[in-house]
Amino acid sequence: MIEAKGLTKRYGDTLAVNDLSFQARSGTVTGFLGPNGAGKSTTMRMILGLDRPTTGTATINGKHYHELKHPLRTVGALLDARWVHPNRSARSHLAWLAKANGISKRRVDDVLDIVGLTSVAGKRAGGFSLGMSQRLGIAGALLGDPEVLLFDEPVNGLDPEGILWMRKFMHRLADEGRTVFVSSHLLSEMSLTANDLVVIGKGELVAQSSTSDFVARATEQAVRVRSPQLSLFRDVLAGENAGMREDDGGIVVSGMDSEAIGELAAKHSIVLHELSPQQGSLEQAFMHLTGDTVEYAAH
């Protein structure tokens, strides 16, 4: 479990992270969502003890990062896949990390196998493609078989196959009971990956909830209706104080759920050809909630 309490980071006059508190539970993938420049990476660096918070604390299973003995066995992190010496081989890169945390050499080969880099283990990492570097970074994160994992924008620059692999992989880690904390500015990706969401904008907490709650709460309830007796039904709905708008051969009703609309139609013996709740997109929810906290908003 990761817990942040009142986390604040100030660079000169700029408040990068402001009084941020949240939790990431074990056994779930927690998405850390926010526009670019919202303070996601800064927050992750503070959790990992790389940056010093101006005020506030971040703990992992109740401990500060620097209090962990052999930290890689508790926390695995992939913050930037390029943090590898280009002339060092993939195996040597993992070898020194393993040595520092009392992890066996066999585990190095194991994680190389897990991410599918065994065949290039002896090659210099500087020659790796982005996808390969990303997988080497993941291998480093998995090295100590940690209970807590942090990934900063792990699908950035990956091809669709890589994105799918990453998504399944994070689900598997969470299913094994681990805490997975993954940041992204890709909202649609997070809706498929994360069970819980921590949403920030301009360094401040915008929302923390389950992904489905977040979408449901933030998007407009709307139901699409088609009917051969549409004009009659319109009159009925008009008396129910519901919003309506025309939509390509049907209408979209807002302010009423599909149950209520169906019952209303039955009461007035109106035939319906379609009665479909419209799922609001995460993008809409996100824009709705962070609309005034986007740093680089277009005016």
Binding site: R45, L50, Y65, A77, P86, A95, W96, K99, A100
Partner: protein, 253 residues
């Protein structure tokens, strides 16, 4: 011990230490060969003169030491290091230790190699290590290289950029320090206390190892005894390293 092993793996799985070691050996030993080869008379060659090239090697050691830490900042591996070893002073000390040890080995190989090549090329020269001063002149090179490596790592950790750190080290040692005596009135008094001048006193003392032979680079103007000169030089290295550790501990990685 684990941390030393970690830093050893890191150091020797990149290319620059190997290159720097090879270049240092080539320069120091090559310079001795040049001296022996061009001397009109074997008696001009002494234990002292076989070591004239050590200062050039010293510059390469500075580059090696600075690069060992600045490349970590350049490629972001310093963050991986601090993730694996959150105790930053320990990590930095381990790196310093490994780099200093490597510099010590390079220094001894270079110095004894230079002595050996002189003996081969000038068979009739008196190159036996007969006195403490002779031993100090040769075996001392490794010690000076090791302490210089400590300074290099410290400056590298403070400045973080390869070009900046290397420039600072080389410009100081090669340009600033030799120019200080040109300052009117008190230039000489300041120069007496500048570290690379002082450490020359440790190595060559008052020129005992020259066997009364040829003049080489000017002798140190330091008034310290050789032992005190080494202590002073080590003190400068310790102050730089302590400063670096304090800064690195406080600074965001």
């Amino acid at each position: 011990m684990t941390l030393l092993a970690v830093e050893r793996i890191k150091l020797f799985t990149t290319r620059s230490p190997w290159w720097c070691a090879a270049v240092t050996l080539a320069i120091v030993i090559g310079f001795a060969a040049l001296m022996a080869g061009t001397a009109e008379n074997d008696t001009w060659i002494s234990v002292g003169s076989s070591q004239f090239g050590y200062g050039f090697g010293l510059a390469v050691i500075m580059v090696l030491a600075a690069l060992s830490i600045t490349t970590e900042y350049r490629f972001g591996t310093i963050k991986s290091t601090f993730l694996a070893v959150p105790n930053r002073p320990a990590a930095l000390l381990a790196k310093t230790g490994v780099v200093a040890l490597l510099a010590l080995v390079i220094g001894e190989l270079a110095a004894f190699g230079a002595l050996g090549v002189s003996a081969l090329m000038a068979p009739s020269a008196d190159l036996a290590l007969n006195s403490a001063a002779d031993w100090k002149q040769v075996a001392g090179v490794g010690i000076v290289y090791a302490l210089t490596a400590v300074m290099g790592v410290a400056v590298g950790a403070l400045i973080r950029h390869s070009a900046g750190a290397i420039s600072a080290l080389l410009i100081y040692a090669v340009v600033v320090e030799p120019l200080v005596p040109l300052i009117p009135q008190f230039g000489d008094d300041i120069y007496k206390w500048l570290p690379f001048n002082v450490v020359e006193k440790f190595l060559s003392g008052s020129g005992e190892a020259l066997g009364g032979g040829q003049a080489g680079p000017p002798l140190s103007t330091s008034t310290l005894s050789p032992a005190m000169a080494l202590t002073y030089f080590a003190g400068v290295a310790a102050v730089l390293l302590t400063t670096a550790i304090l800064v690195v501990r406080k600074r965001d990685a």
